[in-house]
Symmetry: C2
């Protein structure tokens, strides 16, 4: 167990070191040797955990997405009414933007790599599909429970996912042009406001 714990810590250390380096100098310009140097670890340790620089890059993306998914699922589990769940996810989205401050250029690296490399491509595109399915189910559930106006769930999910992607891109292009986290939260809240259906018999308990 302690050795397994140590392995997890080493992997995290490599990921943190890679993130720091890539944010500073970009993905292309960062070598495995530099990541090892930054982490204070050997190349042996590196290749024990990652088959290549690209595998580490993909692992960075997955760690980030995994954190978002975990928080999203916690909200979902704790919240019965879909409009309330969406409002809480709007706040989470704001948090995602503020946590990613300074790391957004990495997203452009992913997208550029994805166009060149099928493995990165698959890992970049599949979360978008997965989030579309997730929100499609959530919107359908909201319509079924009567808390949301009926909306084509797939079109609605496309709105939510594209909105998030479009905001990330704008935040990347124009970082000081707006508080993008606040824009994201405001946009989702405005959507929820027009989607939400006042509960029938709002006066009954």
């Amino acid at each position: 167990m302690p050795s397994q714990q140590r392995a997890i810590e080493t992997r995290q250390r490599l990921l943190d070191a890679a993130l720091a380096r890539i944010v500073r100098q970009g993905y292309e310009a960062t070598s495995v040797a530099e990541v090892c140097d930054e982490a204070g670890l050997s190349k042996g340790a590196f290749y024990h955990h990652f088959s290549s620089k690209q595998a580490l890059f993909v692992a960075l993306l997955e760690r980030w997405l995994e954190g978002i998914r975990r928080q999203r699922d916690a909200i979902d589990a704790e919240t019965q009414a879909v409009p309330e769940a969406l409002r809480r996810m709007a706040v989470l989205l704001r948090q995602v933007f503020s946590d990613a401050q300074g790391q957004l250029p990495l997203v452009l690296d992913f997208w550029s790599q994805a166009r060149r490399d099928p493995a990165v491509w698959e890992r970049t595109v599949s979360p978008l599909r997965e989030f579309r399915v997730y929100f499609s189910d959530l919107l359908a559930r909201g319509a079924a429970q009567g808390s949301l106006r009926p909306i084509d769930p797939e079109a609605g999910a496309q709105v939510l996912v594209s909105l998030a992607v479009g905001l990330v891109l704008q935040a990347l292009l124009d970082p000081s042009g707006a508080d993008w986290g606040a824009q994201a939260e405001g946009a989702v809240l405005a959507l929820v406001r027009i989607l939400e259906r006042a509960p029938r018999g709002a006066n009954t308990p």
Copy 2:
């Protein structure tokens, strides 16, 4: 007049040649000499119209945006009711995607250049701002005429612009993953459906 007409035609020919080349081989890999070659024109003709390759690149973006703006404004001028105008713009958006087929990688070139070059950056970011202002006004007008539910116009405009940007990016990353023009149209139509307010006294003429 004929010489002015010829100048306009020469400029269009250079833009068409540049577009063809850049779509084929990317912005970075395309030289002014190749554009001249493709257009069957001299470097003298090129530099009469554009101060640099970058100036031509920006002119390509502006020609494209100008076409979209013109169609958008035509819809606006012909259509009184805002929900109907938005529905017609949804169809226009689909058309924009289908016209841009094969040219979308150019958008990624713009975004990458924009991060390096302040002149390209300004021309890339300012249309996004301009479209946000446009849609904010349109949504406010819809609320004022009673055809749309009241929505924070700026948040609603951010939804529309981010949605379009996010769809462009997804179309770029995953060109065969969906009919992105149809996704764009469907997403905007779904939004209009929940935004629209049935006219009061729908039975009166």
